[in-house]
């Protein structure tokens, strides 16, 4: 193969492309350590800011570690990570529990509040996490449906997880369950300045709070803290 001027031009193009990739993509490669979000370091955040008396906890209530999740029932990534988070908590042998907060960052997730209210109504009967798992299963179904159809789907879920249906529907109609949902959103937006779901925080034994970017970083955090996997 002769080194013609055309090959030289192609070689230059190739070198420029490789250099562009090296300067743009390589710096964004993930490190092995969870990366703290800057604003968390600047905020005097306490465990009590993230976990209140009415916060939904999955797993051992007295676990030394807590994974706090801000999630939205209409967010596809939240649905995607949910079973894996459940598994991480189950495998932790009581060392890690999970706290759930509602957060709706996207206005086009039109049923988020309706679904969150359903989970809160189930929580009144002690079945928040059962409803939580079921609501993610109907995520694709509710996307295009009007509110009344979504209500029917929610009632079906309530039957499936053996809730007292009359009590469930009465709770749904009451104003009482608006507050925890709104409080979660205020916490996410005003104090934590979150912009997306799912958002994660790890609370360590010492009470130190670690912002965690994604599922891969949760696994790294779990490993680093010596939590059974």
């Amino acid at each position: 193969m002769k080194l013609t001027s055309e090959i030289k031009i192609f070689a230059v193009i190739l070198v420029v492309a490789v250099a562009l990739v090296a300067f743009t993509v390589l710096p964004t490669l993930r490190s092995n350590n969870p990366t703290p979000i800057k604003h968390i370091e600047d905020t005097p955040l306490k465990k009590s800011d993230l976990i209140q008396a009415d916060t939904h906890i999955k797993g051992n209530k007295d676990a030394p570690f807590t994974l706090v999740v801000f999630s939205d029932f209409q967010c596809p990534m939240c649905k995607d990570v949910s079973p894996q988070l459940n598994k991480i908590v189950e495998n932790s042998k009581g060392q890690l529990n999970m706290a759930y907060h509602h957060f709706k960052p996207r206005p086009d997730h039109i049923h988020s509040q309706q679904l969150s209210r359903a989970s809160e109504a189930a929580a009144v009967q002690g079945k928040f996490w059962e409803m939580h798992d079921e609501l993610f299963k109907i995520q694709d179904l509710v996307k295009e449906e009007p509110d009344d159809k979504v209500d029917i789907l929610i009632s079906q879920l309530a039957k499936d997880i053996k809730l007292d249906l009359l009590k469930f529907q009465a709770t749904l109609k009451s104003k009482n369950i608006d507050d925890p949902f709104l409080a979660d959103n205020v916490l996410a937006i005003q104090q934590l300045k979150l912009g997306q779901t799912p958002s994660f925080f790890g609370i360590e034994k010492s009470g130190k709070i670690q912002a965690i970017n994604n599922l891969a970083d949760i696994r790294t955090w779990v490993k680093r803290e010596g939590i059974p996997e």
Binding site: M1, T4, E6, I7, I9, F10, I13, L14, A17, L20, V21, V25, T28, L29, R30, P76, M77, K79, D80, P105, R106, K143, G195, Q196, N213, N214, L215, A216
Partner: protein, 163 residues
């Protein structure tokens, strides 16, 4: 516009498309963070059925972006081969190969764009960029084929006149 220039442009487009697909595949493997902007559209697309095997069940173990890597790599290799050889037969065959691959890719990309618009109802900026790249590539591949046909006809006429 010469055929050499068209080939250079196709090479640049293939590399751009390759980088785009590589980024999406790396994001799928959680090696890089997928930067979606405020709309989060690419997150929705990245977690839809179409993100794996182009939504085709028996290909569902392979990320859709990985097909893009293979396709752009083939197109870039074809453009490089044309630059590296003076053999007219190879030139012509590779040119047809580039056109055919980009046609298939435009159709696949059109299907994925349809899924974004009417099934997923979310737009992935990186997928849209790839769709635009392959469409422009196809236009240049078609111009290149058109110029090849014209030069073949001219050559036949010249040969006919000589004989």
């Amino acid at each position: 516009m010469t055929r050499a220039l068209a080939n250079r442009i196709m090479f640049i487009l293939s590399l751009a498309g390759f980088c785009d697909s590589l980024y999406l595949t790396m994001a799928h493997a959680q090696l890089v963070e997928l930067k979606c902007g405020p709309s989060h559209g690419c997150e929705e697309v990245a977690h839809s059925a179409a993100a794996m095997g182009m939504g085709i069940p028996f290909l569902s173990n392979i990320p859709t972006a990985a097909f893009g890597i293979l396709m752009y790599l083939a197109l870039a290799a074809g453009a490089f081969l044309r630059a590296a050889t003076d053999n007219e037969v190879i030139h012509d065959r590779v040119s047809k190969f580039q056109w055919a691959i980009s046609l298939v890719s435009v159709l696949a990309s059109g299907y994925l764009t349809y899924l974004e618009a009417y099934v997923i109802h979310a737009w992935c900026r990186y997928c849209v960029v790839s769709a635009i790249i392959i469409l422009i590539h196809f236009i240049f591949a078609s111009i290149d084929r058109s110029m090849a046909r014209k030069s073949n006809i001219s050559a036949s006429i010249v040969e006919g006149e000589i004989s």
